[in-house]
């Protein structure tokens, strides 16, 4: 547990967290080394670069793409990605007819193995309330223009099921390698509030 000096009094919340960790450690109900490793894993090792690899593979390999759409959990696991908060995955594909958007209205359900931990906005009331009732407005707030003729499908995640959006492959990416393609895939494009980068910047 870190022991750095504070230049200001600890807040109530900070004291409560310290008290919790202190008591649980003393009673040997948690192992501080395990806590550190968990933090390290989710702060530095697991993140949207995982999901980007899934998307890039699907863009390059039509059979993989079909497996991904038919059996998301298993296909994602082919890339070594599985586990906590990603036990049951459905991958939804953007096309020229359909744009997909993912939310968890009730809390913060999010596919950790492919995207890491969710951003604050995803877990907050404004997004959770409006993604389901005004998806076009929400997309506009994120600067994403979707034609009126495009259907927007909103997926409300839950404890048992998580979603990953398979964005459309950008134009002008012929001949790019899987790594290069993965580099174009943004976290927001896999939630549905963004589009992948174009190869020209």
């Amino acid at each position: 547990m870190s022991n750095h000096r504070h230049n200001r009094p600890l807040t109530d919340v900070e004291l409560r967290v310290k008290a919790l960790e202190s008591l649980l450690t003393e009673k040997q109900l948690i192992d501080p080394a395990a806590v550190d490793e968990i933090i390290e894993t989710y702060e530095h090792k697991i993140g949207p670069r995982n999901g980007a690899r899934v998307v890039a593979r699907a863009w390059l390999d039509p059979d993989y793409r079909q497996r991904l759409l038919d059996h998301g959990t298993e296909a994602i696991a082919e890339l070594g990605l599985s586990g906590v908060q990603g036990e049951d995955m459905v991958v939804v594909e953007n096309t020229d007819q359909v744009h997909n958007l993912v939310v968890c209205t009730l809390c913060s359900c999010y596919p950790w193995p492919t995207l890491g931990l969710p951003p604050v906005w995803y877990k907050s009331a404004p997004y959770r309330s409006r993604a389901v009732s005004d998806p076009r407005g929400v997309l506009a707030e994120f600067g994403v223009e979707v034609p009126e003729s495009t259907e927007i499908r909103v997926w409300d995640s839950n404890a048992e099921l998580r979603y990953l959006v398979l964005p459309r492959r950008p134009a002008g990416t012929e001949g790019m390698s899987e790594d290069e393609l993965a580099g174009l895939v943004t976290r927001d494009s896999m939630i549905g509030v963004g589009l992948p980068r174009s190869p020209n910047g």
């Binding site: 547990m1 409560r16 919790l20 960790e21 109900l29 604050v120 404004p126």
Partner: protein
């Protein structure tokens, strides 16, 4: 049953505010809270449904005004006390000691 957490379709909750280059954790206590939760969960003291339900039972105004990891803190404290793993006065006493040490 519904509750304040059942936010889908509610009006008036304001603009979405994405933070550019948002860090995974904004404060050290959030980082510790995350790690603690996963470790405590691994110890089998509660399941995820109980955890969510403990958050859903928060005071509605406090739910809306507090940050995400404060919801986790509230839920863990509630569950561990309800299940007799920790006592309310133990937590208060340790908190008071730590406040003195930090002063």
């Amino acid at each position: 049953m519904n509750g304040i957490h059942d936010l889908g379709g509610m009006h008036g909750l304001g603009p979405i505010r994405p933070e550019p280059d948002e860090p995974v954790f904004h404060e050290d206590w959030e980082r510790r809270m995350f790690g603690l939760f996963i470790a405590a969960f691994g110890g089998g003291h509660f399941n995820v449904d109980e955890f969510r339900h403990a958050i859903e039972r928060m005071d509605p105004a406090h739910y809306l005004e507090s940050s995400y990891y404060e919801h986790w803190l509230s839920a863990i404290e509630t569950l561990l006390v309800e299940k007799g793993v920790l006592a309310q006065d133990e937590l208060a006493a340790r908190k008071a000691e730590l406040a003195k040490e930090a002063a």
